[in-house]
């Protein structure tokens, strides 16, 4: 790592904690119902919706509410895409989105995955971007957060039958946490050059004319092929550049804050209108991790023992920093096959593996972004992961496969790592021969069954999905790069979908009925297949007594537990994927070194 990369990493962590700490205090107050002015403003909404805000429900009713709320979201996102050609705010007259792509994108956005099977600027109208995608950026983030809050409450409560009011939690989280943050961040972005308008695409006259080849088509629009079977091309010249426009800043702010990651443009946060300067880039990396980091402190705050929050924080941070180091190191080393170029890092250039990276971000900011966006289930990108070196690209892939628990998605990261924490105390309990307990709650058979489901459902969906894609023609047809890298593209896609990340080895042609359907199903299973058992754990824990701490209690703070938690995470979370990883990035790295 260069000195610049080291400084960037340290400054990043300091700024993150400095912002996450006060945010956590605010989030705790809002979710505990202590924001009095907000409560007055909410009251008419509850009246309209027929909600009694002081009325709490049990875990099952809470979960059914969440599922229904997300189900309505699915229908809305699907319908808006299918009807966008007849709806307003479509200055480019874009056609209705295909049914399989709409299905995929609808699931993708309600599950907080935000996998981009589509290319934003050539597919989605401004109305769809706002009313379908931006809305779900808020609501899927709120869904994740309220599940985490319900789980935290279940640790705090004693012999309780309820975990909260789902409607109140969703409304407060959206209106008083996500919305104000987004407003501030969106305006900061807009001040730096992120566009925010409803104009049609802007045609400009370029300095130089450009000649390029396009496939020749016959009267029916089919490409013409010559006798040898090659597509016939014809030469065209243009001096016009059409520049995509749109309401980007408002979508970008919540896309980062809500760990959504579905970009306004195809190139996502690599696009200069979505990420114009190093300053916006730094802000993007901070905001994508901010709420997930704050939730760790909310956890400590709400359970009344901040040391518990710090233990989880350090387990996450240690894995995160090691990942940043590895990704930066391998990307800075560059590509040995391109020895005909100058890849050295100097004051005049970033050097390293610059394929698929932007000059203004270079290696350090691209590697940090890639690590953060996959540690957190954000999935936005400022560089193309498909063009990373084998091991540089393995870092994001492994972070996704760990289950998005290194900070993770907003809410989903915290409830994910708490599931692993329960598993860690269970394993420790077996080793020392005591009934395992976490935060004073006995961990028994029912909880462990749910923990097993929550941990295993995603790897199952990912690995079965990968196997299906590799064994079928339409699955293999999408691969863009030859050899082991092609397998990595498929494995990455399924891992990203199952763990609700949404980033891609984007060479894979995934906007096909096969991948849209397969990935749609895997995203749904990976989201709700975890949320339901987690809510069941919350219901069960809330109903239990809270035991007093005794000398026999295993302390769940301090370095020993941090090490245990990291160990369980790597052992259980990663071991599932080791054989598959050996076939992809590991083989590719060995091939690269042997050339």
């Amino acid at each position: 790592m260069t000195m610049q990369a080291w400084i960037l990493m340290v400054v990043y962590m300091l700024v993150l904690v400095a912002l996450a700490w006060p945010l956590a205090r605010w989030m705790t107050a809002v979710m505990d119902g202590k924001f009095a002015f907000g409560k007055r403003l909410e009251a008419p909404l509850y009246n309209l919706a027929g909600v009694r805000p002081d009325h709490e429900s049990d875990w099952l009713r809470y979960t059914i509410g969440l599922l229904l709320f997300n189900g309505i979201g699915f229908v809305a996102v699907y319908a808006l895409q299918r009807l966008q050609d007849v709806l307003p705010l479509n200055p480019q007259a874009l056609a209705a989105v295909t049914s399989d792509s709409s299905f995929n994108t609808a699931i993708s956005f309600i599950t907080n995955t935000n996998w981009q099977g589509y290319a934003g600027e050539s597919t989605m109208s401004y109305l769809t971007q706002m009313l379908a995608l931006t809305v779900q950026n808020f609501l899927s983030a709120a869904t994740g957060i309220v599940v985490a809050i319900a789980l935290i409450r279940s640790f705090k409560r004693r012999s309780a039958g309820t975990v909260g009011n789902v409607w109140v939690d969703l409304t407060r989280c959206t209106l008083w946490i996500l919305l104000p943050l987004s407003l501030v961040v969106a305006l900061l972005y807009a001040s730096q050059g992120v566009i925010q308008n409803f104009s049609p695409y802007q045609d400009v006259q370029t300095l130089e004319a450009q000649t390029f080849d396009v496939p020749k088509v016959d009267a029916a629009g089919q490409p013409i092929v010559d006798a040898a079977g090659q597509k016939v091309t014809e030469s065209q010249t243009t001096q016009t550049q059409s520049i995509a426009m749109g309401p980007v800043a408002s979508q970008l702010a919540i896309k980062q804050l809500g760990t959504n990651g579905g970009g306004f443009f195809n190139a996502n946060s690599a696009h200069p209108f979505e990420n114009p300067t190093p300053a916006t880039d730094f802000m993007a990396i901070i905001t994508l991790l901010l709420i997930a980091a704050a939730l760790v402190f909310v956890f400590g705050d709400m359970v009344g023992d901040m040391r518990q929050g710090w233990a989880v924080f350090w387990a996450m941070t240690i894995i995160f920093l090691v990942s940043v180091f590895l990704a930066t190191h391998y990307e800075q080393q560059g590509n040995p096959l391109l020895a005909n170029t100058d890849q050295a890092a100097t004051r005049l250039q970033a050097g390293g593996n610059m394929e698929g990276k932007e000059v203004r971000f270079g290696i350090a900011a691209s590697a940090l972004y890639a690590t953060a966006t996959t540690a957190v289930s954000n999935g936005s990108v400022n560089a193309m992961h498909d063009s990373f070196t084998p091991l540089g690209g393995a870092v994001p892939m492994v972070l996704i496969q760990l289950g998005e628990v290194v900070f993770g998605g907003v809410g989903s990261g915290l409830y994910g790592i708490l599931v692993f924490a329960i598993l860690a105390v269970f394993i420790a309990g077996l080793m020392i021969g005591r009934t395992p307990e976490y935060l004073g709650k006995k961990i028994e058979i029912f909880e462990m069954k749910m923990v097993a489901i929550a941990i295993l459902v995603t790897p199952l969906a990912v690995l079965i999905g990968t196997a299906v894609a590799v064994m079928t023609d339409p699955g293999r047809a999408g691969v863009a790069n030859p050899g082991a890298h092609g397998f990595s593209e498929i494995l990455y896609a399924l891992s990203s979908a199952g763990n609700n990340n949404g980033s891609a080895f984007a060479g894979l042609s995934a906007n096909t009925p096969f991948y849209n359907t397969l990935l749609g199903i895997v995203m749904w299973v990976g989201r709700f297949g975890v949320i339901v058992p987690v809510m069941a754990i919350a219901g069960s824990l809330a109903a239990k007594q809270r035991l007093a701490v005794t000398p026999g209690t295993l302390p769940t703070h301090g370095p020993l537990f941090v090490a245990l938690l990291i160990g369980v995470l790597l052992l259980v979370g990663l071991l599932n994927y080791v054989p598959a990883l050996a076939l992809g990035p590991v083989v590719e790295h060995l091939q690269l070194m042997n050339r």
Binding site: L139, A244, E355, R360
Partner: protein, 203 residues
């Protein structure tokens, strides 16, 4: 699910539909309509240039955006990085990277072709080509090249335009943005703005 629990589930669903529908609608209006409109209103008033794409005009013509790169192939201009957008390079209505993996022979070929083209345009220059000048950006719209990539091309551009090398180097410095406080971002040169200034200096 057995028959005993069906009734219980019914009662769990009851009273869930109305809040779900109404709150979905209300929150959609707030986050999907009001929020983007408020951001647009403030941004258009406070940062009109930035919010509309940081466009560059010459006379009454819009000639580009500060933030969006353009393709250059004449030796009289500084060349931008490679761009993998289709059907033409620097298609700002369809951003895309190349997504070529590190071992893909197509990557090595694209890099070699670029190196050959640069050498053909400037046969006397034997320096190694800076990596960013021989590779595609992530967006396909990168407006910048590294300072090293600009310096590499300075001799060629000066010769083609009959300008003193120092003048061209001065223009590079003028359009260079440095690293902020030694840690944020990378030193970079805006290619379009540099070329626009070149046309003024030696039309």
């Amino acid at each position: 699910m057995n028959t005993n629990t069906v009734k219980q589930t019914d009662s769990a669903v009851e009273g869930v539909v109305r809040p779900a529908l109404v709150l979905f609608l209300l929150l959609t209006i707030v986050t999907g309509i009001l929020y983007p409109l408020v951001v647009t209103g403030i941004a258009q008033k406070a940062f009109p240039v930035a919010a509309n794409g940081s466009l560059i005009t010459r006379g009454d013509k819009v000639v580009g955006s500060q933030l969006i790169g353009q393709a250059f192939s004449s030796p009289r201009y500084f060349w931008s990085r490679l761009s993998a957008t289709s059907p033409m390079a620097y298609n700002a209505a369809a951003s895309s990277g190349s997504n070529l993996g590190p071992l893909n022979p197509a990557l090595a070929k694209a890099v070699q072709d670029r190196v050959d083209a640069l050498r053909a345009a400037d046969p006397g220059n034997t320096a190694a080509v800076p990596i960013d000048l021989a590779t595609s950006s992530a967006s396909g719209l990168d407006p910048h090249i590294s300072v090293a990539a600009a310096n590499y091309q300075a001799g060629r551009v000066a010769r083609e335009r009959n300008l003193p090398l120092a003048t061209v180097q001065g223009l590079i410095v003028k359009h260079t943005e440095g690293m902020w406080l030694q840690w944020l971002g990378e030193a970079r040169v805006n290619v379009l703005e540099l070329n626009l200034d070149l046309d003024v200096a030696a039309p």
